[in-house]
Point group: C2
Chain length 157, copies 2
DNA sequence: TGGTCTGGTCGATCTCGTCCACCCGTCGAG
DNA sequence: CTCGACGGGTGGACGAGATCGACCAGACCA
């Protein structure tokens, strides 16, 4: 994970379809060696995938909401997590330090779908309470910040 | 935005580097026509970009936090938004219906950076109060849900 | 009926991806 | 000191993919 790898990662984060040839030109190497570096980055779990970024509204996912979950004392977190994972509308799931120990980001087409979704989440054993906040607008999302200058080795060679 | 476009979008959301030739095989068209569809999807703002998904921990962004912002009455939201946008560590920014009218998702290398960041956000004119929650773990993030069957035309032809 | 428009195919050409042989410093062992 | 292994890079060859222009078929409308 040297400086060249960082450049490659930054380039691929801002345009995931950049060709190896183009990357090679940018970092001053040849295509095969860039390809080699990229596949090592993938193998080492630095790059975990590539996705097209889609405007949710244009594909009929006009409603975004954040749902906080307060568990009860007997909550089995493995089970909760599994049940949550099975719900496709939950795009992100964070485990938090706080009373609301999960926060979900969900997207649905219509309010009725959100209502159904909340019932579905509330029905999971171990979920004591949920608190939902509608997002009025997404100012921005998943903006790739440049990888910070590495002073330490982060354990991935 | 017919059924074929939806398939293309779904495929590109789960693997943003899928070649046009491969997409063509999957949807039963030729590469040029798929390419044509994709460029139309990009032009119409359905696909807004492509990004490599990176494991934050492996690139030195080990700390994730959610920051809620409570504005004061005189808050100029355009200014707040601009000031927030200028802070690269803020990866996502949602405008919410609630007392905390913004929620930020931030990533930093160390706790000290988070502290600095909170001070930075608190110092923005119009920000009355912030509330920060550390995420203990990211269960998953930005999982692409299949685009819902379109019953209506969502205004993007 | 004929013109136009949209969305497709086909084929040619150029670029890119990918594999392989080879090269060149580094480092540890004999 | 020399040898051999190794990691990481280069260059070339070849097949696959991207891209462009020409052409075609069905829908729609005057």
């Amino acid at each position: 994970m040297d400086e060249i790898d960082q450049t490659i990662v930054n380039l691929l984060r801002t345009d995931g379809r950049t060709s190896y040839a183009e990357l090679a030109r940018r970092v001053g190497l040849t295509a095969p060696s860039v390809q080699d570096r990229v596949s090592k980055l993938e193998k080492n779990g630095v790059i975990t995938g590539y996705q097209a970024v889609v405007d949710p509204e244009t594909v009929g996912l006009g409603i975004t909401a954040l749902i906080g979950i307060i568990p009860d004392n007997s909550a089995d977190h493995l089970e909760i997590c599994d049940k949550l994972r099975a719900i496709p509308q939950i795009e992100s799931c964070y485990f938090l330090a706080g009373v609301e120990c999960y926060q979900l980001k969900v997207r649905v087409p219509k309010m009725a779908d959100l209502e159904k979704l909340i019932h579905q989440v509330s029905a999971i054993p171990g979920v004591a309470q949920t608190r939902t906040t509608i997002t009025l607008s997404t100012k921005w999302e998943d903006r790739p910040q440049p990888v910070p200058p590495t002073e330490l080795d982060y354990g991935v060679d």
